[in-house]
Symmetry: D2
Subunit: 443 residues, 4 copies
């Protein structure tokens, strides 16, 4: 029973939360006002007393992030590399900047390279030029959205990637990317281990959908929600502006409807929010179309927010995939519009539907102050972890602390809205949609 909207811990505890290391580390040289984190400082997985009781006192924990007294690399000879993969997200440049500045000013590394255009940048045949990320080069990049490195989708041969790392003499690789990139990072770690070379790989999870397990909230999510509310606000205005006005907004959310749910909560002008986690029927007594009709009859307008992955069970679709291996989603909004037209025309209800798809507008903007700070800490702690010789892990925030999570845990699944939680109940209350779906009372 949880009330938060952030990442709930799993009901089954992970078997292993230990982080790989490249080897023993040495006492580091003086760090500015050092506040070193002990190796045995850890953060509990479960904050809930009943969870721990249920598991008979078992409460796994994660390594606390932060600077270590013992460092693994000879920093002055160390070269870092950063690669950004997949779709854009507010704050990527902030993470890049934090890594570069931390590595330069606190660990005095000899260079940090930017790998251009995602994993493609490792492959010589693409012929992308490597970037030299000096403090000056990154000083104002956080003022802009996107990634200065460029990005691309899809995998590249892991051998070629490790070849490139060796060729560049890179000792630390930072991978900023989503689910697929974290899986790629795990394979890179395996290849590195197989070659018995000493390269650390640290992930910083990036996803606009906020769907990564063991990450309370992904960076950029707050900013994306703020932008999404602007689109919903406009849909509300349009809906109010016409007789039987319907404002429909499509938001990102392939398998997890967090953006849609969160934006609905923020604005409270939304009447229906449809997400992948909570399937619905189109017609029939408790279907969406009759519910929408009830709403229109009672209030004369309606605002519908649709996560792009909602209602996929209602669509026939070919099993196509994109370059990242994601299944191509069916177009739920077009289908809903067609069904609404058909149903309302039949009952001769004059209506106006305004469809807004803010699409990339919510993800290409610069990060808010809050997200920017978050990215800063993620980047700094990623550098601390790498310098201590950690590898095969990501930096995450858990119970308000920055922690190290093994890649093996992060790639085990996707975070989704728990539709039995108080969080989802709050969303449903804020929309009031149950009263239209179930006019005679909820089941």
């Amino acid at each position: 029973m949880r009330t938060d909207y952030t990442c709930p811990p799993p009901s089954d505890p992970p078997k292993d939360t230990s982080v790989q290391t490249l080897g023993p580390a040495k006492i580091r040289s003086r760090l500015n006002r050092p506040q070193f984190v002990d190796e045995d400082a850890r953060v509990y997985l479960y904050a809930g007393v009943k969870d721990v009781a249920r598991l008979k006192g078992v409460n796994p924990s994660f390594e606390l992030a932060g600077p270590r007294e013992h460092i693994y690399f000879d920093t002055a000879k160390t070269k870092c590399a950063i690669v950004t993969c997949g779709g854009l997200c507010p704050g990527i440049n902030d993470v890049i900047r934090a890594i570069v500045l931390e590595a330069h000013f606190n660990y005095h590394v000899s260079a940090t390279y930017g790998i251009p255009y995602g994993l493609e940048g490792f492959i010589p045949s693409y012929n992308h030029a490597l970037m030299d990320l000096t403090p000056a080069a990154v000083s104002r990049i956080h003022e802009f959205g996107g990634t200065i490195l460029g990005s691309s989708r899809g995998p590249q041969p892991v051998e070629d990637i490790v070849d490139a790392l060796e060729r560049m003499s890179v000792a630390i690789l930072f991978v900023i990317g989503g689910d697929g990139s974290m899986k790629a990072a795990a394979r890179i770690v395996e290849e590195i281990a197989a070659r018995r070379i000493k390269i650390a790989v640290i992930g910083i999870p990036k996803t606009i959908d906020n769907d990564i397990v063991y990450v309370a909230q992904t960076f950029g999510f707050d900013t994306a929600v703020e932008k999404a509310t602007e689109a919903i606000r406009c849909a509300h205005t349009e809906a109010l502006g016409a007789p039987n006005g319907i404002g429909m907004v499509k938001l990102m959310g392939r398998e997890s409807g967090f953006i849609a749910a969160q934006a609905a909560l923020a604005l409270r002008d939304v009447d229906f929010v449809l997400v992948p986690e909570d399937p619905f029927e189109l017609s029939g007594e408790h279907g969406f179309i009759p519910a929408l009709q009830r709403r229109l009859r009672m209030r004369g307008h309606a605002v519908v927010v649709v996560a792009e992955g909602a209602g996929q069970h209602l669509l026939k679709r070919p099993e196509a995939t994109d370059a990242s291996g994601n299944v191509k989603l069916g177009d739920i909004c077009s289908m809903l519009q067609a069904e609404i037209k058909s149903a309302l025309d039949q009952v001769k209800l004059d209506y106006t539907l305004k469809f807004i798809d803010p699409s990339y507008i919510i993800r290409s903007v610069p990060a808010s102050s809050n997200d920017s700070i978050y990215c800063n800490f993620l980047g700094q702690n990623a550098v601390h972890a790498a310098m201590a010789g950690k590898t095969g892990m990501i930096v995450s925030k858990w119970s308000g602390n920055y922690v190290h999570i093994p890649l093996s845990l992060v790639t085990t699944g996707r975070k989704k809205i728990d539709i039995c939680s108080n969080y989802w109940r709050s969303v449903l209350e804020s929309t009031g949609q149950l009263s239209y779906f179930y006019p005679e009372g909820c089941p």
Copy 2:
């Protein structure tokens, strides 16, 4: 030869710029610190010396707007009505609010009614409830986008409208609407004249496309451009973020590409701006597709801004029309995307195209301060004009002055970008698109 981006005067002077009146007016009761405008105060049509010379000294002029010493109506017994028609636009609520407050506090009218949902609101069968617009009811409406009255498209029988006005004892009707609404207003004036009744009809032109002749710039246009630039900024970020990234933005502009042109000027990150006024070819030496390819080869990314009405000559389309009688536009962006795909696939150029359609986001937002002030003056001057017994006219801004323009002039055509002007040349310079269309020099 003009350099401004606002409404150029026509090359042929209008035959008549005189405004209709309902009859002689009387000395009005005391107005707060009156600064009355004389009836013979006028503003010249042409500010250009050569225009006047070409016309052998002829320089027509418009009535200057503002409060008159002589007023026509017995204000305490006067009822006003406001109707808003067509699509939304930033600032409508500001105009409504200004009319209500001016009519109430300065002329002490007995009531101002809001006609709900456009011209539909006059027709009893629609059964929309009339709104009573008190100062309290409108006090904060300018904080929100849209129109509190609601709107609708399409004509209604002019007899029914005038019947309704008579039934409600309305003496003054304010029509906030676009080209079609101004034509409807003209017909209402005719019907009123035919019935020999005394009802003033004043228009306040509203169009997101800024395409009304004799109006230097329509209200809400600045705000819409500001929002449009946000979308373009994101398209630029997306284009930079992928190898051969193309960001394409669709903007409003059915027959006039002012929003696209203006936003391109504001941002200067746009590489191609396509508007209805400047037709282009798709293929061939000087076609858009080869130009885009040149751009990608040279710079690795491209931002394309497309006014919805651009390139219609390239599309086969059925002659369908919407409720307002506007011809339904072909989908230029889908066609461009298909052509780009076909051409770039053929030359095996890997690219990523991100399409952003901000659609209603740019028109449903509240007005900027600047637009808000403009709307305030339009509303106040509309009331002044009506109270003086003017009818069949709109309020406009010309050469920095608020003026009265006869409806007969406003409905004579649409304002378009003059593609031989310095304005359009500046747009083309800011995009640099000519160098891609004509790599060997312009014709």
Copy 3:
């Protein structure tokens, strides 16, 4: 050793975390899709494994917030009241709205009253009119900053307050206020207990300074930081725009410099951030003035952010207090400006200082989406707690969960920046100020 910037748990565990109740509660009537929280669901105080080890396995816990199956009040006969005290903060209206809607739609209370102008509103002699907070009355209030109830500072006789509650037949009082208001709330609870009446008092802590213990982050803080960064951005622009330009920004933060620290982290254009927690000297080898001079000589400009409570040890001041009993702070910024002038004039260094005091601009704005959602949950959970018969407690967020904290704990101290934490180290790194304070290396 912690890395977060939010509320650290105390090093000594609280003696008692149990929440008072008014008496046993009954099974409640049907709640919409109920997801009841068990009474024994609790959230651990410590998330850090070493903290728990140090305390030999002791880990106190807080009640988990959320709807209870057993409710204490006969909801249909229950009247609620809301009072807002002290200074403004983004999100107050959001909390009010959430309470009103939750109490109305989920518990069907008979009324919710708004107490006007803080505790003054309880005192008949002030003659403020009680407000009836219906769902319609609060529907759009979250679009505006401030509090629709009005506020005031300072205490009122606790007997008069409880008299008023009895007179109004109020069963539940929600107090939205700061440190002083929580103390007042505690006294009201005592008086209620002494009278053996059944009135629940629930606090929702509000402080722009984010200085309340056992509250990870107060609502509105994120929004305030976002606005604060706008002022700093301008100070940076001004500093860059003049030879030896100094931009100085004063920010709120009487005893805790969280806003200043957080804004400095967000923007990373700040060169010095001065907070109450980290005292500094003015002159001498490691004083602020020489440090500023070093900065100017090296970079030609400087941005200084000062929390209003910083450097109070450097000021002689009378021990005056304001209406809330807060000690009046000395004017650190004027003093710094005078000292800078004196020092730089002496060395004939031409400089330009631009001082920006955004003051109320950062606290009077509407809440961001993120804060708005947070306020929504706080308000809903406050109602759940009250309905279950809880009293003498606040709603807080801890380790990502909403919890109940006894008022007795919250009023034990103030949250301050731990200047030995990694958080403060990050702030200092982002400003680089240590290198100017200690040019030959930190102590």
Copy 4:
């Protein structure tokens, strides 16, 4: 009788509107799609028919700005310089960028230099490093407020300035500055003429106060007003949030209250706007303090907007001046606060006054889209004028057209609000302040 809020033409026509030239120009080389402006294309000073009638048909005119077919300079050998003087203003970087890009891409000049820190940058003893303004160097500067060149106040010896221009072989100097800078530019022109050298000097007037004659509206003004409204909005929120709450906002406006007036119009939440042009008394029957008391008694709160130069006649002050020679203003807001305190304490009226001084926040922000476009045209037309051999002039916008105005006209006075205009009447109506100043009716 005018209704606009922009620059009214003077009641006495200027004696001479002709622009100086350096000498005859030659047919220029091909310009991209040339739309040349004829030398005799001019724009009338008066748009008002009655103005022209009063002057018996006399209507002076200004040269129309734009590219000329005949150009004076051998562009490939031409070097330009840009200097920015005085206080910041939104859009300076936009003007710089427009000049650099136009000079480079359309006229192919050999270099454009940035003079650092205002006129100081010409003086060797200051030792400021000259900047090379390439297109790459200015490509994104419009995203930031301020001036990348830096600025300074105050005059420098005109001989030294011209010496520097000669030393740098600069053929064209662009001066972006206020009233004082335009006077300095005029003296530079005289010195150049005296030396019989061929250097063109073109001014682009910059003032946050919008107080330059013959300039309808200065660049950055719209942006500043938009930011000013944010501060007023907060003052309104604060005023509403306390019993007898007074929100007081100080805005820029030394001798002209345009920002205060315009922001009051935009927001309509202002109850009193005090500007330099409309003197007021403090006490007495029609004084400000009694008027404020009336307002508080009637409505319980008040918002007061004060231009910094308002009410100077009420202050005793030393005749100090700043580096630019501007008289130092007395602190009207402190005086008003003291007077309010004294008066309200006397009648034992409990009140809360929140004072907001947004100061530099309104002028250091980046330009809005609208202002950005305006700056772009100003910069482009400045280059066109210079290239045609014009000198001793500014670029301005008049009646919607860009024009050339001789420096001699611009320095003749300051633009002020005409308090007998409909513009000021609208401001007073929007505040309603006359009803508090003159409760028994206006004089």
